[in-house]
Symmetry: C2
Subunit: 251 residues, 2 copies
DNA sequence: CGGCGTATTGACGCACCTCAAGGTAAGTGG
DNA sequence: CCACTTACCTTGAGGTGCGTCAATACGCCG
């Protein structure tokens, strides 16, 4: 598939590409599509390309010997998929990447990336900041796993969704199946389901895929009570900023 | 404190520094020492320097609102401390760094690092590979937390220690207090203590700080049973390679 | 209608946390 | 050299949050 320069520029990673740089990149990359359920790559595959999601969502996960799926992350349009593998010079993918929904993915040969990263100074910086960011997220994940209850993690995640997708906390639809979200939160779907019920008392109503958070303050207290990374994880703060802006507009 | 060029070169990060580069770096860095228990920096402090440990060990941790310490990692000589914060251009430290034992730490102003990273091509690469590596470790942590029992995590950690410190699995001393190790494994010290008892049946004997792993195969099966990252986490494989080499020498 | 993917609900057990009380070892001062 | 302190570790009893297994319900499409 031929790539338009605009398609590239729409990706945060490449947003400030010059005309010339863009032309070079267009020549060295292409767009692939994956149907829902299809694998972009699997654990153990040779690493041949660097990927950036243009449309859709990818589940990044591993499979334990016991057959259990451990979801590492759910990546969406604009996210780079395996930047870490490119800079770490790994030979094989450590994870599986499966399309949660139909996807378009930009693919760039890793060899080319490694060769030319230094020519695109600003790109390299963004890529690295992205990796550092993901490291940070992983650390947050660990902390939350060890200190927060299922209810707190769910509340926290729902708020994060609002920020990520620019949802209105007072009413929005879950963007993935509950099973996937549960997996992303490292809990069983039964636990997730039960947790949603208990959250009703806290003003977080979930019926089907529809979520509405009645009392932001209550939800916040719940989510933040044990979350030392409230500031950096940023979900709550970002959400509040957004809400305050809305109030401002409304008044 | 004045730094010898050799001191720099002893650090993996700077091992292939040229004479000139070394001289430049010496002029722009210094060595600080921290006594056991002292903080190198705390959560919320302004980020002023990039640090590399020359001697000793640092506990990297956060404190939850509830007062619980969550240990992110224990870094030792040769490790860079906050490479991610340098490339992510954060303003404040997200973690606490406290000396587990008396430490010597190389400190380089972040401004200088950011300015000159691109002049030291190979250094930048190592730094980034280090970050990618740590991302990987964090992901392993998450996976192990969600899939492995306390016994498995402890067994796995003991093996990792052998690789990291080049210990002989058949007999070595724990390099940190049990409380610290428990914290690193995200479990309570009581749980850790009890787990060590149960591991005796599996041929992993721990009395005081002394560890001896009688039956490597048994320990392995235990640790790897649910560890999908056996290859990459590398503890077991690296350990086996080491043991096989020893056997080879012995014969 | 039947079948499939997805979600809910119930009953049950266990691994780990929590609180509380020793116990051991090393260091300090008389 | 012994009493005392302090830091570190172990052991016990009890509670619980979440995983597990199994059955049922819901929504969607052919």
């Amino acid at each position: 598939m031929i790539i338009a320069l605009d398609t590239l520029r729409a990706l945060p990673l490449f947003s400030d590409l010059s005309q010339d740089e863009g032309a070079i990149l267009v020549r060295n990359s292409r767009i692939v599509t994956s149907k829902r359920g299809q694998y972009l790559f699997m654990h153990g595959d040779k690493i041949t390309h660097f990927y950036v999601i243009c449309r859709g969502a990818l589940q990044i996960f591993r499979e334990t010997p016991g057959g259990r799926e451990v979801t590492n992350d759910i990546l969406i349009a604009g996210d780079s998929v395996n930047a870490d593998e490119v800079v770490a010079r790994q030979a094989e993918h450590a994870m599986n990447a499966r399309a949660v929904e139909d996807c378009s993915v930009l693919e760039i040969p890793t060899a080319w990336m490694r060769e030319h990263l230094k020519d695109f100074d600003h790109i390299a910086e963004k890529l690295l900041a992205g990796i550092a960011d993901r490291l940070h997220s992983a650390q947050v994940d660990v902390e939350q796993l060890t200190t927060m209850s299922a209810a707190q993690m769910v509340a926290c995640y729902l708020q994060k969704l609002c920020v990520l997708y620019n949802f209105d906390p007072h009413g929005f639809e879950l963007p993935y199946t509950k099973a996937l979200i549960a997996s992303r939160l490292h809990m069983e779907k039964e636990t997730f389901s039960r947790t949603l019920q208990t959250l009703r008392d806290q003003g977080i109503m979930v019926t089907g895929a529809h979520v509405s958070i009645k009392d932001m303050r209550k939800a916040d207290n719940l989510a933040c009570a044990e979350c030392s990374m409230a500031e950096e994880c940023g979900a709550h703060r970002a959400l509040h900023e957004k809400l305050e802006k809305n109030v401002g507009h409304g008044a």
